[in-house]
Symmetry: D3
Subunit: 226 residues, 6 copies
């Protein structure tokens, strides 16, 4: 429980990570039996923001961004910073300079259970961010924290090296050991959905495709009128 | 109070509905003596989303979208789905496949007191949605509910066949029997506003146009420091 | 404590105001030793909204916009309306007609601890607004209030004539007497940041530039692994 | 939609109302097939507050309590005031003097989707109140509203004469026409629960009493460990 | 704007402070023309908590209670600590040990726009506290702040030496220079209310006492039904 | 990720659990280097509620309490139920009958990231509960979930067998493997606090006891006035 920075973490295969990124948040969450999703208050900073990468986790005191600097130091290209806080805060712990540093180091995104500032510049830089708030509230560099320990971010458990996927629907966390299995289930799911989409487009109903008419009848839902 | 699906509902005249759509949410709400508005947490999924149509109402258990499927089955072209929940939820009860099905059936929009997922695809499809949240949180199809009963959605009473108008300002509900009268009052209001707008543009003040100077004086508001 | 409208207020130098506008919210807030920021729920109505001007303050009863009319009457070109409420409200106290009147009078923006309506038209007019909500909820003109008294808006103290700066990061308030000093400190800060940005872009780390390695060591943060 | 005060309303039988009061909120809500409940932010002002009575409904502008005065005028002994607002507010629209007036007139409680003040005195008077907030924020008497029209209060539809039941679990609304049937179903439910309670007290499990073991098996829930 | 501790502040007359305490929050707020009230999320830690005293103000970084220690050092018996934060936080910045220290020094209460811990012991000590939250979340002593500067606490401006009155209805702030006038207006108000209370108790209506029947008629509120 | 019920879990030593219960939430949280605390919205159902026991964890769909029944089946005397949800809900998933069943089985408390109903009876039974809400909203038994898997409850990670301590300050989670070390550090902390409390009671200041005067000076906090 003492503050610690873990330098080396295991990461998933980059091809698996890429596949998860293509599947997107909603599909992966379903493929994980509807688990792993962060709370919906985590929103992308700008439309079209997308990311898939390995989590480097940060546990910080509210209003203090010292540990983000420490985390960038141990990142590898393709990593995504995941910032969790000891208690609720919306302070702007991340701004343009940190985004410049991240991009210089190949870090591909940020997921932060707090606020970000310099929001317009970061959007122009096309550095994808999911956050709880946009806030210029400045922070200090005065309290210790940890890097690469398991954290709870926006209601989801994130362990270092887990895969983070973010898009317009939010952020989902895939445990590293399950990454390959989830990617493959997601792919199958997309194929099944392609078939259903075609039938729906032609005017067939979910009621008939999925057999919900009987289900409703068994549940005692009554039709009225006509 | 047992779950029921009402197949047939009365709808307002399509020309009246179109007129209400042109007037927009703020004007209609004023023309209804400032009533009928849903709470402001109901936001459009994308800029420019607009809808005016007849409400097909749905009452669902949180985290369960079975009844949305049942509702699409009884809709007509021009209808708008209005989803109310037994208790607060932000789960993503509506996604791309349901949007495809809606468009195939001529349903023109969705108003949901919960979340939606596949938000980027639905925006690209230009299927207008007003929701409480964007969330990939998956749902089940396990509990009964009702279609086309009066519901409370985002603080507003919606009866099947009422007219739903949505735009960038939110969502307003017009009782079906009052639709024509409201449309006509809205039109008059817009004409009055055209005249006032012109005067304001030329630099006249609301203080003078509306006679607020005397009102303030009567209320005892004092001017200081000439 | 009785309602009062103060006609004449002192304003800062327009060149100083312009400099503050160029510095932007995050930089000014830091240059003020991290003070003056409104709470982050104050969001711009549309992307790219920016303003810097002298505050004309308004204290209103919730759901009543009479005093906004009264305030426009005492404004000068370059002023920014700052609307504070006696208690929390999201009602749409400001709409298109008021925006037209503001632009006709040279008022350059609105900061309102409540809601706005006609959001799409106001965005098209490019009249910058920061608000707590978008809501069509109509208001009355029935209760007295004050203009140009000190108010608390979104958690920040605003006195008439203070400088309001708004951008994508929110809204910051600069006390009039400190405007020049803050503008100059902000300028210095931007120059310092230019230098740091360049070093970060080349791959240097904040850890090394700011000397955080020793700080972490002194704090007892331990490195693990490798 | 114009403001109106309805003097005469139909009320349910007092014995039925008394029975509903004995059943309590949770049981009635279940007996109504889990409907009619107000949102859980409606909390009693003091522990032990209980009420069952006929709703006299009020629709008010936020921050204005004029219509509460108007409603007391048309109440009968045994009535419960139900205050709904055009938009969200926590202002203290009801205080000691109104409570004194209510008790003098035989009004037995208050349900208000806003705030109350003089909270300690009202508790000492044992006048039961359910509200969204406790707030001393004073209100005006400047805007018209309605009495005894259908309103939405804390997410529930309330029509004049509906039965309001409040206790430590919140507030539930029973449509007047269904009052007798609901009271009778509630009674049966309580008897069934008496039997189950006894079995549970002796150590039997809900799993066995309700047959959930098979249900879990059918759903594919797997037991692990031994 | 640099951190500063002001040792000496002016305080109001103790007899005036005592009178304000007797009047209570709701009456004082009305006597100040409905101003000075903190937001209603500020709640007493235990039923019956009451305080009236001179504000010693504190501006702290979230999650850091160093400045509370500094403030106790400059307090006098009869003072009330008022803690404001640079940004929103619910951390438990104040606990039993600080309460013991306050009581030893004659400090009579705490108003904190954050959390408190050791809530049960503090209640047993009968040390009155109004806070935003109860939270055990521990804090650090790492960042500077200020004592006895004007602060915004829970939406209200508090200057050092202003009078703080707290009871079951919340917290109100009386500017020091107006203390005597407010106390006297509050006294008159209580006398007027005594008379009205008596009439209401006998069954007279506010409608008649205040002349609201004509007001409603002038506003166009129509009576229906007999 | 498929639903599973784990029958057997490891539990901590009962004497260690008892010691943690005596230390209380705030002390344990500090002894864990300020970690393990649930978010402060988790509040006890009644004043004086206290618990310390081994966590039996439950992951449920919102609005469904089937898995609570399943969990009671695998509990041992001294266990505490910890209910986590797949998404936010305030539904009353736990009521009197479940509380009776828990007490019959020796379960000593409930921590639920949702609502409870029958709040008054449960308080009279003295069955300690920490919840997010009180709500009569009824639930279904229609969807599978898991028992005794790691869950995130109110922002804290809870693994089956971890020690749950709850009191008036909230709920803290102690990892099972650290229980003994934490109990011992908590004891030492209480002894240290006894000594400090005595000094504070006699009028010494935290400023002097902890040496904060120098700290403030080093930080550049300036004293003003005299």
């Amino acid at each position: 429980m003492n503050p610690v920075i873990v330098r080396k973490i295991a990461r998933a295969d980059t091809q698996v990570i890429a596949k998860l990124g293509e599947a997107g948040v909603a599909t992966i969450h379903e493929a994980m039996n509807r688990s792993g999703l962060m709370r919906p208050y985590m929103r992308p900073l700008y439309p079209g923001a997308k990311v898939a990468g390995s989590a480097v986790t940060i546990l910080s005191h509210p209003g203090d961004n010292l540990m983000i600097h420490a985390a960038i130091d141990v990142c590898q290209p393709g990593d995504v910073l995941v910032v969790a806080l000891a208690s609720d805060s919306t302070d702007g712990m991340f701004g343009e300079l940190l985004a410049v540093s991240c991009q210089a180091r190949g870090i591909t995104g940020l997921v932060i259970d707090a606020g970000v500032r310099d929001s317009e510049v970061i959007a122009q830089m096309n550095f994808p961010v999911w956050s709880k708030a946009i806030s210029a509230q400045g922070t200090v560099k005065a309290t210790p924290g940890s890097v690469n320990i398991p954290v709870v971010c926006a209601g989801a458990l994130v362990r270092p090296g887990d895969i983070i996927v973010g898009d317009g629907d939010g952020v989902v966390v895939v445990p590293r050991e399950e990454a390959e299995a989830v990617a493959s289930r997601a792919e199958q799911r997309m194929q099944r959905e392609d078939a259903v989409r075609e039938r729906l487009r032609k005017g067939e109903l979910g009621m008939d495709i999925y057999g919900f008419r009987q289900k409703l009848e068994q549940m005692g839902v009554r039709y009225v009128g006509e």
